[in-house]
């Protein structure tokens, strides 16, 4: 039973950074922008959160730093793609390379240090209940935040005017411009939100999951988050589900020995990447369906001639 609870705990901890990064990118893509730099924003979030927590001793300041740092990276992306109309694919790649390099540069003084345990929800008695206690009432605060965020995004898109405007801009930016919405401004908002989320996802890795700083510690999670958005068909609820599925695959590799499976560790380590490819294939097969769900203006530059 303990193993079972441990596995579920492990899944949720492995899934949460993906939830953050995917939900942020989902909002960005809904607005019609493809930011491939999630990996770069995550790693910058990871190191900023870690460094600030070490320097100040405050997890809250660390988390805030990761949010700001992720958003700053996204702002850079916005300047290039929204104001200077650079190709979004190339700029996203640049953001990732730059992020990985810069994080390594900042992080060289921080390897080997540790921030200690991240605070968890602790309700007397209830959090000590078997199974539901640790799983539902005893997780870290950020994990609850990730779930709240997904619910908030669902509400935002379905119930608010701003959400409707973002969906409209992602669908047809020319029409949105004609009826008077500032396309670029809204896209900046979406990008900043996406960057902040990716930064948080990164901080979750370095402050909660490990919690130490290792170079390249995101290990492709930013890219997996991008694939999750496709998997989710741009629906927040499905992104959450997808993140937990991937969390499950990651945990499988840690617990495989527990199950008596004896495979090369590298093969198990390949699983999340192979699973991403399989998922992409399964989801993208039906072109018509993809067209119905994907924002029609995705990755197109917007330039108003007036």
């Amino acid at each position: 039973m303990d193993l079972f609870v441990n596995i579920l705990l492990g899944i949720s901890i492995a899934a949460t950074p993906l939830v953050f990064a995917a939900i942020g990118e989902l909002v960005v893509e809904k607005s019609g922008v493809l930011n491939l730099g999630v990996e770069g924003m995550m790693i910058i979030g990871a190191i900023s959160g870690f460094a600030v927590t070490i320097e100040t001793g405050s997890f809250i300041l660390g988390i805030l730093a990761s949010i700001v740092a992720g958003a700053l990276m996204a702002f850079l992306f916005g300047v290039l793609t929204q104001s200077l109309l650079a190709n979004q694919v190339a700029t996203g790649l640049a953001l990732t390379m730059f992020g990985l390099g810069l994080a390594a540069l900042i992080g060289q003084d921080y390897s080997g240090k540790s921030t200690g345990d991240f605070p968890k929800l602790d309700i007397p008695f209830i959090s000590d209940l078997p199974i539901v206690g640790p799983l539902i009432f005893g997780q870290d605060y950020l994990l609850y935040l990730s779930i709240i965020l997904v619910v908030a995004v669902i509400w935002f898109f379905n119930k608010t005017r701003a959400g409707l405007i973002i969906r409209a801009i992602g669908e047809n930016h020319d029409a949105a411009h004609t009826i008077g919405y500032p396309v670029v401004l809204y896209r900046y908002y979406a990008l900043l939100f996406g960057g902040a989320c990716a930064g948080l996802g990164g901080a979750y890795l370095s402050l909660v999951q490990t919690p130490i700083w290792v170079e390249n510690m995101t290990a492709g999670r930013g890219w997996i988050a991008l694939a999750l958005v496709v998997f989710a068909a741009w629906r927040p609820g499905r992104a959450l589900l997808g993140a937990y599925l991937f969390g499950g695959i990651t945990i499988l590799q840690l617990h495989s020995q527990g199950f008596g499976i004896n495979i090369e560790p590298q093969i198990l380590a390949m699983l999340p990447y192979l699973a991403t490819i399989v998922v992409l294939v399964l989801i993208s097969r039906d072109k018509t369906k993809v067209r119905l769900n994907a924002p029609a203006s995705l990755a197109k530059s917007f330039y108003a001639s007036t």
Partner: protein, 368 residues
């Protein structure tokens, strides 16, 4: 107020000038970065960009570093022009090295002039096969080639690790995860004694010329350009998108595979887990820096190799962190993409109050 204005057609002048502008901007930003790091900025920039040019040995090192970058970037440039994004060249590089290296190790007891060509063919095939996966999945299942090709980099890295821990491990190597050293007829001949300048450099030059001819004069280059500029017009012209996707992926896979084999059979001389050092990603920057044009890529590859060599020198001389080089490369791509806007747009200064500006020309006229 500064306003963007679309040009009627792309500016050729800006197309060639902006890479130089981007390099200069990167140097300036580098000065700032070193100031922030508390290192002597001018010394660092000199070490990175100029010192390597002052000795014969470092010039040959430059060529050795530039070889894989140029080879890979030329392959990638085809796809990038067509809007097909193979960003997994690093994985194809690894698979080329693995396949070619496996041939070398299998023929460990055999000497012969045909060993090296055989390794090259194996390396090319290895890279092509690895690149064929995203191409097939994109064509058959519409799966995003960016994500698939990138995921395969991680898979290839792990595969290399499995192999050098397992079947390809040096039997006399005390369980160290690396292969045997390739013997003489399985290593690339050296061009200049006491350097690492190898035959691959010549091959790369030939590839540059052939690629240039195809891009400029052949219908294949035309098809790729047309598909990238206007996919519907390319279809209208009778060009098959699927064929172009195959072509771009297989070409870039082949060249990345060859580059990987050159790396294993050249400077490294064996298979090690640390064989991939990011050339596949840096080549993306090289491709853009070279304007996706073979000649431009040749120059871009040399420049990027310079920052590698110079970066290493600066790391030793000034104890700079090794990540500095990648930060520089990221910045360079940023500046390049930012200045790209000048190709299709121009900035115009539009005065909010035109009246206030008018007196000036009037007074000039009076002066005359």
């Amino acid at each position: 107020m500064l306003k963007l204005e679309r040009r009627k057609e792309p500016s050729k002048f800006m197309l060639y000038v902006t890479p130089f502008v981007a390099v200069v901007l990167t140097m300036l930003a580098g000065l700032l970065l070193f100031l922030l790091l508390g290192k002597a900025p001018v010394q660092a920039i000199t070490l990175i960009y100029f010192t390597p040019l002052t000795s014969i040995f470092s010039l040959t090192e430059l060529a050795v570093k530039a070889t894989p970058l140029i080879l890979i970037a030329i392959g990638l440039s085809f796809g990038f022009r067509a809007g097909i994004w193979n960003i997994g060249a690093e994985g194809q590089f690894i698979m080329g090295a693995v396949c070619g290296g496996a041939v070398a190790l299998a023929l460990y007891e055999v000497q012969g002039i045909w060993v090296l060509p055989l390794m090259c063919v194996a390396g090319i095939i290895g890279g092509m096969l690895w690149a064929a996966i995203p191409a097939y999945l994109r064509i058959r299942f519409n799966a995003n080639e960016i994500l698939v090709s990138l995921m395969l980099v991680y898979v290839a890295t792990l595969l290399l690790s499995i192999l050098v821990h397992g079947v390809l491990r040096d039997p006399d190597g005390h369980n160290f995860p690396e292969s045997r050293l390739f013997h003489d007829s399985a290593t690339l001949p050296i061009l200049i004694e006491n350097t690492r300048a190898h035959l691959g450099i010549i091959v790369t030059l030939v590839v540059v010329v052939i690629a240039w001819v195809f891009v400029q004069r052949h219908i294949i280059g035309f098809q790729i350009k047309a598909l990238g500029d206007a996919p519907r017009a390319a279809k209208f012209a009778g060009f098959s998108e699927n064929r172009i996707i195959w072509l771009c992926f297989l070409t870039s896979g082949a060249l990345a595979g060859l580059a990987g084999l050159f790396e294993a059979a050249g400077p490294v001389g064996q298979l090690v887990p640390a064989l991939p050092v990011g050339y596949g990603f840096t080549a993306i920057i090289v491709a853009f820096l070279g304007r996706l044009n073979p000649i431009g890529i040749f120059l871009g590859g040399l420049l990027m190799a310079l920052t590698y060599i110079g970066g290493e020198g600066a790391q030793i001389a000034m104890s700079l962190p090794s990540a500095t080089t990648s930060v520089f490369q990221g910045m360079l791509l940023f500046f390049l993409l930012a200045t790209d806007i000048l190709i299709n747009f121009r900035f115009r200064w539009i005065s909010k109050k035109p009246d206030s500006l008018e007196p000036a020309p009037v007074s000039l006229q009076q002066a005359e």
